[in-house]
């Protein structure tokens, strides 16, 4: 047992809460360690001092003052709502805490209902036209101002959903791609 361990169990030793084995080790240590022995004696003496320290008493006017305060409380007018919940527990809580909790829960429920997404017309989600998207055809690459000098670029509005969709659907197929090249050549 080292000094730290001894310091940790000084109170338990004084209050006789240690096992016989621990008491033996404690005794062995304080017999050989002057510092810990001093601490042990100091703590023992402190406990005795605190136990026997003088007790104060309340002043003579304590009871009369208390009586006065209680009389004031008894005669104070209480509003009907307070009287209704006076000396009662609401859901096991003091009324004010219960009301605060209930209000908080109701507020949270209202907030949650208000924040829930209203999904009344789900088709709108996909059909809103937003902006004009350049669609590139042929083998050309887009540059900063494609519509100005690149004849291969067509500007197609997304509002024209069918055409865009058709274009997207056809984009992957080889035959359509060839057909489109042909169309461009014809145009030239």
């Amino acid at each position: 047992m080292n000094c730290y361990e001894v310091r940790d169990i000084i109170s338990a030793y004084i209050e006789k809460e240690l096992s016989i084995q621990s008491i033996k080790q404690f005794d062995e240590h304080i017999n050989n360690c002057k510092n810990c022995d001093g601490t042990y004696l100091g703590v023992s003496s402190l406990i005795t001092t605190l136990h026997s320290s003088p007790r104060i008493t309340v002043s003579d006017r304590f009871n009369s003052m208390l009586q006065e305060r209680i009389n004031n409380i008894s005669t104070r007018t209480i509003n009907p709502i307070s009287r209704l919940f006076r000396d009662k527990l609401v859901f096991g809580f003091e009324p004010k805490y219960a009301f605060v909790s209930i209000t908080a829960v109701v507020a949270i429920i209202f907030l949650m209902v208000g924040l829930l997404p209203t999904n009344e017309n789900p088709s709108l989600e996909t059909s809103i036209p937003t902006e004009i998207t350049p669609v590139f055809t042929g083998s050309s690459f887009p540059d900063d101002n494609p519509g100005m000098h690149n004849p291969d670029v067509n500007l197609v509005s997304e509002t024209d959903r069918d055409s865009v969709k058709t274009h997207e659907n056809k984009k992957g197929t080889v035959s359509d791609f060839e057909g489109r090249i042909k169309l461009v050549k014809d145009r030239r």
């Binding site: 310091r7 940790d8 169990i9 000084i10 109170s11 338990a12 601490t39 100091g42 703590v43 402190l46 406990i47 001092t49 605190l50 136990h51 320290s53 003088p54 007790r55 104060i56 008493t57 309340v58 002043s59 304590f62 009871n63 003052m65 208390l66 305060r69 209680i70 409380i73 000396d87 009662k88 527990l89 003091e94």
Partner: protein, 196 residues
């Protein structure tokens, strides 16, 4: 009134809850001095301690129905007193900060309670003032635990319920508080010896 002595605290509070005001008076008589010793040691001022005990007993009167017979009455009343004392200390701390900010350095160093006279030192034991100062120097959670144990002489279980911390924590806090108090008192004695 004499027959009230045969009732324990829990029976008295039950009778008070049923409207027996004599039971309240008996509870006040049983606890007023115990509570004032606890609060005085905790906050270090007798007048404030008396006010806090009054508040505690008024709360007992107005909130009697909030006591439920699942814990000892003493635990409940000490918890109320302890909470009120903590609130008072918080208020004081705020006031102290304001006052200290207006003080000069010289004013701040003056602390008459920490001075020890030669007569006190000659007694060869810790004076009441030294003990009180040493207790005041403890952190609040150590202070409460050691007062309840060594001055109020409550059991570890009761202290654990009042402080709402596990039994092991209570034991550890009390041990550490005692070690710190012992160091503090040793230091005070050494300082006194040097001065003499």
């Amino acid at each position: 009134m004499t027959d009230k002595h045969q009732y324990n605290d829990e029976e008295l509070i039950y009778r008070f809850q049923q409207g027996d005001e004599v039971a309240y008076i008996e509870l006040v008589n049983r606890y007023r001095n115990r509570l004032i010793n606890f609060v005085y040691r905790y906050i270090g001022d007798r007048n404030d301690a008396e006010d806090i005990v009054q508040d505690t007993l008024v709360k007992l009167y107005t909130h009697k129905h909030f006591y439920r017979n699942i814990a000892k009455f003493s635990t409940w009343i000490y918890t109320i007193a302890s909470n009120l004392a903590k609130t008072e200390l918080r208020k004081r701390k705020r006031r102290k900060v304001t006052v200290l900010s207006k003080m000069g350095g010289e004013d701040r160093e003056f602390d008459p309670a920490s001075e020890i006279t030669a007569d006190e030192f000659a007694e060869g034991r810790h004076t009441e003032r030294e003990i009180q100062n040493a207790i005041q120097s403890l952190p609040l959670h150590f202070r409460t635990a050691v007062i309840l144990r060594d001055i109020q002489e409550l059991s570890y279980e009761e202290i654990s319920n009042i402080l709402d911390v596990p039994l092991g924590t209570v034991k550890s806090r009390i041990n550490r508080a005692r070690l710190q108090l012992q160091e503090e008192l040793k230091h005070v004695k050494q300082k006194g010896r040097k001065r003499i």
